[in-house]
Amino acid sequence: MKILSLNFLTCAVKACKTSPNSYPLHPKDAELVQDELGLKPEMIISVLPRIDWEALKSTCSELGFPALPEAAPTKEELENDEKILKDLHHLLLETSISEGKLVCGNCGHEYAIKEGIANFLLPGHLV
């Protein structure tokens, strides 16, 4: 589960969706892996406006990554600064959770991640 995907995901329980505590999900016992993947600047540039920067900052701090800048870089900064582009590419696409859990801050339900694939299927009593 890539760090980018975490930014798109919240708790699957319908009642949690309206609660601000359900997003982002909190990684727990996370084993991280790094993949080396080709950088596509156009991908990072198009993904930037779809990122919830506050959520990304809190995910990074929970995982113990170096702190992100206070505000998201602008499109111009991305286009002109290869380092920001590379760093974001590394964080969002090359870094992922291979094993662990994602925990909802509202209901406490834990979603397991195994071999990089998360399981969001809800048990009968939570549907």
Binding site: S5, F8, A12, I117
Partner: protein, 443 residues
Amino acid sequence: MLFLIRFAQIHESFRLAELKALAELECEDLKIAEHDDKNPFCIVEMSSVEASKRVISRSILAQSIHELWGSGSTLNELHEDIKSILPDRGHLYKDASFKFEVECFQGTRSKKARMEIIHSLAYLPFEGPIKMKDPQEHFTIFEYWPYQSVFLGIENPERLYFARFVGGTSRDIVHKYDLKKRGYISTTSMDSELALVTANIALADSGKLFFDPFVGTGSFPIACSHFGATTWGSDIDGRSLRGDGKDKSLKGNFSQYGMKERIGDVFASDLTNTPLQLRRIWDGIVCDPPYGVREGLRVLGCRDPLLKPWQLELSKKNYKEPDYVPPKKPYSFYAMLDNILAFAASTLVDNGRLSFWMPTANDEDREIAIPEHPRLQVVSVCTQVFHKWSRRLITYRRVSDAEVSPAALQAFAVRQQVTVEGRTADELNPFRNEYFKGFNSEK
């Protein structure tokens, strides 16, 4: 400028939808001048040779594009038409090496007859050498003959065209992604040709984010990623994503094609209980939803929580066990269609596309209506006809909120309310009745 597109003789009703999508991707104003499903030669207008090459280069259903020099219903008419443009164009090819060819669709010509036609073009001001192999310019006389011309003894074509080759297409990649050569597939994997056409119609492209909520073995993400998109997918069946956890898996397929960097993530989830945020993330959503033919359509949930409260207790007690399997309940196909449209309306960016496949009956009475949503505008409907049933590829565009009237939204909300209340969870599924018994065997 006019161009002749030479289409493959297959999936005729998808041709224009693919072509228009490719023109939109290239921001090219393409006009259809002459088109008939029965005729593989289609005449279109585009701004330049360069633009025409770019537009057609991604096409799966076209074989080539040619600059049109003339057309007519008889050879004489064709010559007149060619002569009228010669003053503008003829001299440009004076010294180029070239070759001529005659291509007859639904008809035949002897070698001698072909040579006669070619010789009748002797007035063309070409002085370069004739080269049968790799000439600089390749001219073709295309002939469209009436159906069964040979059998009926028809002696002349209905329509003739003369055109200069300018560019090829992506049709060859259909073989590269052939399911027979793919490491991991299932009975419901989409064949590579139609998956690639779907990706084209949905405008998959570099720098775009695509999602398939019924991803299975990943046929659509693979096709979309071929065109550069980064793709995500989910499926209620976690095993279908994992495969053997190595080569024979969805991710293994991406590695097989050298596209590891284009897969975002896949995860197990039910579209009716999705963990995805409902905000504008996706440039495209493409899928082949479950029809409920084999097992009946299912979503997460206990069947009768009120009648059988112990199911809930059981779930509370066991859900942390590693081998726990969440209960599923039957669901209506119509309700699922509504869910797909509602999900797409809330998560597509403006002008993002939803393309999904849906089966329907061949006779009009039983045909299933095209689902509607005020925030989604139908762009194209393409039909693949089988013996007893058909399936359609329906494509929508997410319109911007400014384009939707509050009245339309209001009316839609009211209608939804009525239909939801009028339904029971295990309402009959339209594809499970007698009529569709031949459905799977035919595929």
